[in-house]
Amino acid sequence: MGIFQMTKTVLRNLAGGPATRQYPAVPARTGPLTRGHVVFDPATCRSCSLCSKRCPCEAIRLDKEAKVWEIDRMRCIACGDCVEGCPFGSLTMEPEYFAPVVEHVVERYTITYVKPEKPAKKPVDESAGA
């Protein structure tokens, strides 16, 4: 009947438990695809700078000379474009959201990738681009 339309739902709600999560005690729900924050691996980065070119919000900066890779977490929108574009798998997306901070910090990494020595069979002039 008209005015008792909600009664069924109310009774069900009384019988059922809460629909919400007790947040700090129970962790927030995330999925395997959740875009939380970008993680950089300085050991595999070959300084191609595709990530900084692709970044729509100019959060990533790369200094090829100094071998420094920087990410401004305040600018990053976790769109995942850099992760998708990285040809060497140096960037990954983790599902956890980045922890809140109280001051503007730029995360700085020194790239530790070392180009493996080619087994010197015969002297070939290096014409292939990087």
């Binding site: 339309q5 109310v10 995942g80």
Partner: protein, 359 residues
């Protein structure tokens, strides 16, 4: 003759999620005139197109609105694809449709909750948002973002939904539809809801059409305009009939949205069962040169992205007209005659999305 007074409504008001200001001219408790003013959250996103490459602007377009984010990205992408003559693969079109309808579901459920809250039905509000949460969970599982999906790109989509997940979604649709129908029953049949909404904020079919109403505001008055009928994405294959009510009051607009929830569930079900196999995207080469009016039906109505490219990576001009902007003139027409206490309900009935409107 009673004295006229002006009561400011908004930009900060308990029922308004976003800032819009109305100067309500009252005679006793009755509204005789409403003067809207906007401009509180203009962000200059149209101008930003000159600074971002056309492929990057998809992310900006997606952030125009926090609710119909996927549809803004879709509308923008379709515009660029049309200019560049890119044929989107079938599977991408179907995935776009599924995500669009999921967005519509969560937008309508959000609105139903806000509307229930606006008319003082707290329990119903919580119930709507509980259902919305399950849609957001699906969106997060399939795209990685609850409200900013980030899966639409020029030339296709970024992610696939696996066969297993699609089957799971398909199985979950039946119980979800039942829950939605239980919720919809309260909105459509409860006497207190009817008493509050019927004959409130009436706008006739001719007025709605003449004032350029869009979306459920127009369809609630009997104007059967739904842009999905033109068959963009996979709507052409799936077949679609717009939901229309004729009364033109707040109850009719609410009924349109409730029934669109059912229609969206049905569209998702059919899209999943007819999902074709194939690639997700095509490679985009070159830069857009030309102009196009891209139109997509958002939860609130039709959105128009006008895009003009000049053959470089940066577009020359973007112009975005969203549905709330189109719905403000009908709102101004609806308000005279309403009681002051009913103003929040009437304002909410057009589903105002001000961040869309001001971009």
């Amino acid at each position: 003759m009673p004295e006229r007074i002006v009561v400011p409504f908004g930009p900060q008001h308990p029922v308004l999620p976003e800032p819009i200001h109305l100067d309500l001219v009252l005679e006793d408790e009755t509204v005789v005139e409403a003067i809207p003013s906007i401009g509180y959250i203009h962000r200059g996103l149209e101008r930003l197109i000159e600074k971002r490459e056309f492929t990057e602007y998809v992310y900006v377009a997606e952030r125009i609105c926090g609710i119909c984010s996927f549809m803004h990205a879709l509308c923008y992408s379709q515009g660029i694809e049309e200019i560049m003559k890119i044929e989107v693969p079938d599977r991408a079109r179907y995935l776009r449709t599924i995500w669009s309808e999921c967005s519509r579901l969560h937008s309508h459920l959000l609105w139903l909750g806000l509307f229930a809250d606006g008319m003082g039905f707290e329990n119903l509000f919580m119930r709507s948002w509980q259902l919305r949460e399950s849609v957001l969970d699906v969106l997060e599982d399939t795209t990685g973002g609850r409200v900013i999906q980030g899966t639409c790109k020029i030339g296709g989509v970024r992610r696939d939904i696996g066969a297993e997940k699609l089957a799971e979604m398909h199985r979950a649709l039946d119980p979800f539809e039942e829950q939605c129908r239980n919720l919809g029953d309260v909105f459509l049949n409860d006497e207190t809801v009817k008493y509050r909404l019927q004959d409130l904020g009436v706008i006739s079919k001719d007025e709605a059409y003449a004032l350029g109403a869009a979306g459920p505001t127009a369809r609630g008055s009997g104007v059967a305009i739904d842009h999905r009928e033109t068959g963009y994405a996979a709507y052409g294959d799936l077949g679609f009939k717009p939901v229309v009510e004729t009364a033109g009051d707040c109850y009719a607009r609410c009924a349109v949205r409730v029934k669109e929830v059912y229609a969206s569930i049905d569209l998702i079900r059919r899209a999943i069962s007819e999902m074709p196999e194939g690639p997700l995207d095509v490679k985009v080469k070159g830069a857009p040169d030309g102009e196009y009016f891209s139109r997509v039906e958002q939860p609130r109505g039709e959105v128009v992205h006008y895009l003009r490219g000049n053959g470089t990576k940066h577009l020359a001009r973007a112009r975005i007209r969203t549905s709330t902007l189109a719905n403000i003139p009908p709102l101004v027409k609806m308000l005279p005659g309403a009681q002051l206490a009913d103003v929040p309900v009437v304002v909410l009935s057009i589903d105002p999305c001000i961040s869309c409107t001001e971009r």
